[in-house]
Amino acid sequence: MESNRYENQICVRFCVLHRLLHIGVMITFTLLAVTGFALKFSTETWAQGLISFMGGVPGAGWLHRVSAAMFYLIVMAHLVWLGYYKLVLKGHLTGPHSLFPQIKDFQDLCQNFRYIFGKGEPPLFNRFSYLEKVDYWAVLLGMQSMGITGLLMGYPEFFSTLFPGYVINIANDLHFHEAVLAVGYIAVVHMSATHLIPEVFPLEKSIFTGKTTKAKIMKDHPGEWNSLYADEK
């Protein structure tokens, strides 16, 4: 079979910076979720135990803020990299191989539903599938909203001079809802779409090793395959 030829051919999917940033996001996101939910559900014994393990309220609060700052630094680092990619490497920030949303993503979604209901073939994804794009944009945009509401709650004295005081109440609710969405999304959708689907179960290693096989690209991202390695065929 054709794919066997590429089974052992390794190519790089994520550069070292991206691997590092992903690990950073993993750690800070987990810390943020744990400390945040421990405060939200502070009537529960597990939450009280966790908080006292982290040094009580001041310790947990410090950890939450520091993790948030680290998370935001990671986002900034990524934005800097985007500038570098555009200006120095002359890459394209939009287009079929970027993470920028395309009309094709919507078509892929429809095609995927046809496939889900057994009425067609799976869609031919480009370099990033629409679900991967949602992963990316959820973090990038969600981070902004979490950051803003978090800052509002962290520095209420300052922000209440700019907005009415009850905006801080709103920020509090939004921060929690957004956190539920983020954790609910990551824990179920991201995890199952990357690790649990039968093809890769139990673990997708490419985000840590950065490497993947050509056969895998051919299967998961045939659109990319067609444009990048078309000459190899």
């Binding site: 405060l39 939200k40 502070s42 009537t43 939450a47 009280q48 908080i51 006292s52 009580g56 309220v57 001041p58 995927n112 496939y115 889900i116 057994g118 949602v134 709650m153 209420p156 004295e157 300052f158 209440s160 001079t161 907005f163 009415p164 005081g165 009850y166 801080i168 109440n169 709103i170 509090n172 609710d173 939004l174 809802h177 957004e178 539920v180 969405l181 609910g184 999304y185 179920v188 959708v189 199952s192 779409a193 649990l196 689907i197 039968p198 093809e199």
Partner: protein
């Protein structure tokens, strides 16, 4: 205990261990307002050094022997209503003065004498003179205070515990966060809703840089706890609830959409894998 109960208890213990489910135990605790004084607890309380007469006077004090069935209010008067709390002043002069200057005493004057259900509290309603222990820490006092105030101010207690202040101070025992009286004043129990400058002074105790707009932050944002005529606060709260409800609907819709997508996709993929497995 016979063998059968032993076995039952043992099994129950295992089940409880496995599931971590607690059982509801009915305990008989003397209520604080009964005729009886639990000497075991009294002996550990702050007032244990005092004799009964020191606070209650002798049994013949008002000229009649104490259990007097002939009195018109015999068995009818509420003990906490008829007690002469001026006796507390003897030792707790400062607290007594502050109470008289406070909101509860003002409300007390307005309350008709026979209105049992709507009465304003006096000393004995918040403090158990027989059982309150002495020398509690700030956190212990704060936790008890939240319970005591919450008996009447239910909505306020709940919203306070939903707020960062309550979570840190009561749930997590952080002694630098504010308890009820840190804002409302011990024994004065002032409402802060009418005067923004008063409220701001209160906020300044912990937030020295706060401006007047800072007081618009709604701590007790449960609708049940807000007076109907307090238009400004009601407007704020309705806006908070509106935005909150919208964002909650958004979150639920997003999660439903993504979860069903993932579930259906997984089903299809597993089905295909099983098919492929068969083909090999």
């Amino acid at each position: 205990m016979n063998t059968r109960t032993c076995c039952k208890r043992g099994l129950l213990f295992i089940v409880l261990l496995v599931m971590g489910a607690g059982s509801v135990c009915a305990r008989i605790m003397p209520d604080q307002s009964t005729w009886f004084v639990d000497m075991k607890r009294f002996s550990q309380a702050a007032h244990t050094g005092l004799s009964c007469e020191a606070c209650h006077g002798t049994m013949k004090e008002d000229g009649r022997l104490h259990p007097d069935p002939e009195r018109p209010d015999f068995l009818q008067s509420a003990a906490k209503r008829v007690y002469d709390y001026a006796r507390c002043k003897k030792c707790h002069a400062k607290a007594y003065e502050r109470y008289l200057a406070g909101e509860h005493a003002t409300a007390m004057e307005k309350t008709p004498q026979d209105a049992i259900k709507t009465y304003a509290p006096t000393c004995g309603d918040c403090h158990s003179s027989h059982y309150d222990p002495a020398h509690l820490s700030r956190v212990e006092i704060g936790k008890r205070m939240t319970e005591v105030c919450g008996v009447c101010h239910v909505a306020q207690k709940e919203s306070y515990l939903e707020n960062y202040h309550g979570k840190a101070a009561v749930n997590l025992g952080y002694d630098k966060a504010a308890y009820c009286t840190d804002c409302h004043g011990a024994h004065t129990c002032k409402s802060l809703k009418n005067d923004k400058t008063v409220a701001l002074n209160v906020c300044h105790r912990c937030h020295p840089k706060a401006s007047e707009d800072f007081t618009e932050f709604v701590i007790h944002y449960d609708e049940k706890g807000i007076a109907e005529k307090d238009d400004e606060k009601n407007r704020y709260v309705s806006r908070i609830h509106l935005v909150s409800a919208l964002s909650l609907i958004f979150v639920i819709l997003m999660l439903c959409a993504f979860y069903s997508h993932t579930f259906l996709l997984m089903l299809r993929k597993i089905h295909e894998k099983l098919r492929r497995h068969d083909g090999e």
